[in-house]
Symmetry: C2
Subunit: 400 residues, 2 copies
């Protein structure tokens, strides 16, 4: 894939965004066609960086998406002179069925055999089961764990992060509490005292792992420079990353789209057709935008045209487990509960869409906004059995 | 379906748009549950309208979409006091296999047996094979024919339209000429000397015919009042219409989305997965927006969040013949031509997406904009065999 120079980097996107550094060099494609990344980096010299000034990256998390993120980052760290070659990855220790430890196997085989089997992460990825040790000396932290682990991780790292450290969160599904959403990027910023960007988008991890063309959005606050560094670290010819100055908008997209996916699943289960599905996805996108702007007036409309917005809604409503289980729920005409279907279809994993719909409903009720968000409200009421799945396109009087 | 009062009318949409008159009356749902539309209209009285002040509607066109439009309009004309009950429909005369004339059969059976079999249009729809007679006395003209017929129709009606007449175009697929797009609404306005709105959206006719929930967008220039009248005439509980003050944006969406559908078909044919498809749809929507704004600076970003924008892109890229034939083209790795596949798959119908892609390419080349629109440019070059289908996500040097 390195041999391709994708046209998208020198296109319409440069109308509103400067090109990402890793794609803008015309030397990149010709060089990369001729030599290995390590040779290329060596030939480019250290770019004025001595070892101390090079950025050290640690990936905190090692699930399916975390492993793919490590692969993307590792390939760029090797190529780019401003980064240390080595990329550390904190891997929650598990003993595999054959008795081996997951960290040992990753370091021996260069594969996360449990969460991303068959994909080489890059020889420069080093797994480490010790969280504190993994982040030691790193000045770029990539958080990519299930959101319920983030509170504990931040507490464990409290006081351990010193110096000029930047973070990015790939964590989807933050909690939406009555007093407002609990943004993971804010949690990281506040608890660790560091700046935190986010990366979201239409990113089914297994498709990116096999280098199918995808896009993502980096949301940042403050300095554009650090956003460009993250873009540089993640971008590959098959993974196009765009920075937008709207961390809240990007992060809320990553959570709220799961509620829309539940609605789309109902439409599929009831076989309502493509017009209805498109209408429900559009109304969902519109409610995502409206709610985000009510919660954070700084949120921009244009964010919803980015990968984190419309594209992630599309991917999640075409595939994805939220849509799939909601489809099964609607097919059963609500006779089987989400808990039952989850247990049967997802081997104990929980659906984010159902809990997010409940949390969003509580916010809407608390703020007196229920009538302004009929789709979000109705999804929750269908999930809890108060409305039939058919209600996704109708309002039966006195039930809202 | 009349018994449902859809919640969407009293929701978030009223943040930016006033409710459509036919949905805003709380009396509507209770009344309609209790009596027939004719009785309801009679009970409501003539609403201060004498027969002369009532609007008379003629639908010019009677294909699949035209017949569904007539059905929607006919149901509202019966109910609303400001409209004449009778809705005329100009039907291009055809002799059916059994020797009967299509106009006679429609007037006898109340069905367009050729283009919308099995669906009653409403007893108040009157088919007329004589174009001039059909539009005589009408003050609201609904144009819904294949776009290549519009020039001839306008010429035939030249000088025949007098008085205070309003038009709306449901015609998709206008021509995009080097000197700019030839908007059907402009053609109608200029040739007939009347104001012309447009109605576009995620509207697969057969799904609306069986009353599945759908949305549409009315684009208007000038007076909002006339837009509200069109919204009133088309809206039903299962067909939600929103007016936007951007006739060019709405109309361009209806044409350009077919180019995006060709791109989506390539992605499907190459089995590139959902991330890639979502990315290509998003980039397509973005190029639609950028090109529309370059051609008409008055075009609004928000139009692309409406049904005519994101929802129509979704519907067209999920189903639709443009996507389907492009998928077959990509599966053959470009070995079978579009002409050949069209002939085989569409019984002689022509694909709008392929010709629109060519027309758009000519505009882009003429204006020096090719590099700003890599997706539109690449679709055309794949269609003509200059690039392989795989190029939809890549740029091979010196081939653009």
């Amino acid at each position: 894939m390195r041999f391709r120079s994708f046209f998208f980097s020198s296109s319409i996107f440069s109308l509103s965004h400067s090109r990402s550094p890793s794609l803008s060099s015309s030397r990149f494609s010709s060089l990369s066609a001729a030599m290995s990344p390590a040779l290329e980096k060596s030939r480019q010299g250290n770019g004025g960086c001595n070892d101390d000034s090079k950025s050290k990256v640690t990936v905190v998390g090692s699930g399916n998406w975390g492993s793919v993120a490590a692969k993307l980052i590792a390939s760029n760290a090797l190529k780019l002179p401003s980064f240390h070659d080595e990329v550390r990855m904190w891997v929650f220790e598990e003993v595999l069925p054959n008795g081996e430890k997951l960290n040992d196997v990753i370091n021996k085989t260069n594969e996360n055999v449990k969460y991303l089997p068959g994909i080489k992460l890059g020889r420069n990825v080093v797994a480490d089961p010790d969280l504190e040790n993994a982040v030691k000396d790193a000045n770029m932290l990539v958080f990519v764990t299930p959101h319920q682990f983030m509170d504990g991780i931040c507490k464990k790292l409290d006081g351990k992060i010193t110096g000029d450290v930047e973070a990015i969160s790939l964590v989807k599904g933050m909690e939406v509490k009555k007093e407002g959403p609990c943004m993971i990027s804010s949690l990281i910023s506040k608890q660790l005292g560091i700046n935190c960007c986010v990366l979201m988008g239409a990113n089914i991890a297994n498709e990116i792992a096999v280098e199918k063309f995808s896009e993502a959005t980096v949301g940042y606050r403050g300095s554009r420079e650090i956003a460009d560094t993250w873009v540089q670290l993640f971008s590959t010819p098959y993974f196009m990353v765009t920075p937008v100055h709207d961390v809240e908008g990007v992060e809320l997209c990553g959570t709220l789209k799961n509620v829309v996916a539940i609605a789309a699943g109902f439409v599929d289960g009831l076989e309502m057709g493509n017009n209805t599905k498109a209408a429900i996805m559009r109304i969902g996108l519109r409610e995502m935008k409206a709610l985000s702007k009510l919660l954070f007036p700084s949120v921009k409309d244009s964010t919803f045209f980015e990968s984190c917005g419309v594209a992630d809604v599309i991917t999640t409503c075409l595939g994805g487990r939220n849509r799939r289980v909601a489809e099964a729920f609607a097919k059963s005409r609500g006779k089987r509960s989400f808990d039952e279907l989850e247990a049967e279809m997802l081997q104990g994993q929980k659906l984010q869409g159902v809990s997010t719909a409940r949390e969003v409903y509580e916010v809407l009720k608390h703020c007196g906004w229920l009538e302004m968000f009929p789709l979000f409200s109705t999804v929750h009421q269908i999930c809890t059995g108060r409305l039939q799945p058919e209600a996704i396109v109708q309002y039966r009087e006195n039930k809202l």
